[in-house]
């Protein structure tokens, strides 16, 4: 991890978890990075290259938009379109 970067632990669910083949992934981002930066980084993983343009992301268990900035210790999750009920 480059100095000044923060580690972000990303949970994956449903179809995305199957794509990655793992329930979570750790990435490191510059301090002040936003959700959109995280998505760019995740798309560099070959398994997640097919992510849609704006997948739903939750930060600390609430839906977050792409401009939301991330801090050390945030609980971040990548959520496929929901299909409950």
């Amino acid at each position: 991890m480059t100095p000044g970067e923060i580690p972000i632990h990303v949970l994956l669910f449903g179809y995305y978890r199957e794509l990655l083949g793992a329930p979570s992934v750790e990435v490191s981002l510059p301090a002040g990075a936003r959700v959109e930066d995280l998505l760019g980084r995740l798309r560099q993983l070959p398994e997640l290259a097919v992510l849609p343009d704006r997948p739903a992301v939750a930060v600390n268990r609430r839906y977050a938009d792409s401009s939301r900035s991330l801090s050390r210790g945030d609980e971040v999750a990548l959520l496929p379109p929901v299909a409950g009920g």
Binding site: F13, G14, Y15, R61, Y63, V82, G84
Partner: protein
């Protein structure tokens, strides 16, 4: 309503709206409305043999609670309860159960309707259908709205 009486859980055991209804019923209330979503044998023309539900449980519990609070703020019901089951469900089993109790029936109907629509729209739950031919597929879902942090 400062502290609405509500119950909201994700569970991996059998659920029923009747149990919920009896939990929430009150002597002050004249109307109870329940909803149950059940696993169907056919969906989009394919023969389903079972469903697998997966949730982001920690978030789902909070989302469900938010939905219930919103429902009671919007309508006059006194109580609403909602359970969503996760894990493997066979045909006919109940995936989601909702019950609301109110002095008057309109409120009870509207609260239950609001809750099920919101559950479908934003509860972080996913389902994979397993078919008679042995294949299985994640169901297309609804893209949840971005950024709800300001809404509470």
């Amino acid at each position: 309503m400062a502290d609405p009486d509500l119950i909201a859980r994700v569970v991996d055991r059998t659920i029923s709206s009747a149990d919920l209804a009896n939990e929430i019923a009150s002597d002050q209330d004249g109307a109870v409305v329940c909803f149950e979503g059940r696993v169907r044998t056919r969906n989009r023309g394919r023969q389903v043999v079972r469903l697998h539900y997966e949730a982001y449980s920690e978030m789902a519990d909070e989302t469900r609670r938010e939905i219930a609070v919103e429902a009671l703020r919007r309508h006059g019901a006194r109580t609403v309860a909602v359970l969503h089951r996760i894990g493997t469900l066979e045909i006919g089993e109940v995936s989601v159960a909702i019950a609301a109790s109110a002095a008057h029936r309109s409120d009870a109907f509207e609260v239950v309707r609001y809750v099920i629509e919101q559950v479908k729209d934003r509860l972080p739950v996913w389902k994979r259908e397993e078919y008679a031919d042995g294949s299985s597929e994640w169901l297309d879902g609804v893209s949840p709205p971005a950024e709800r942090e300001g809404s509470e």
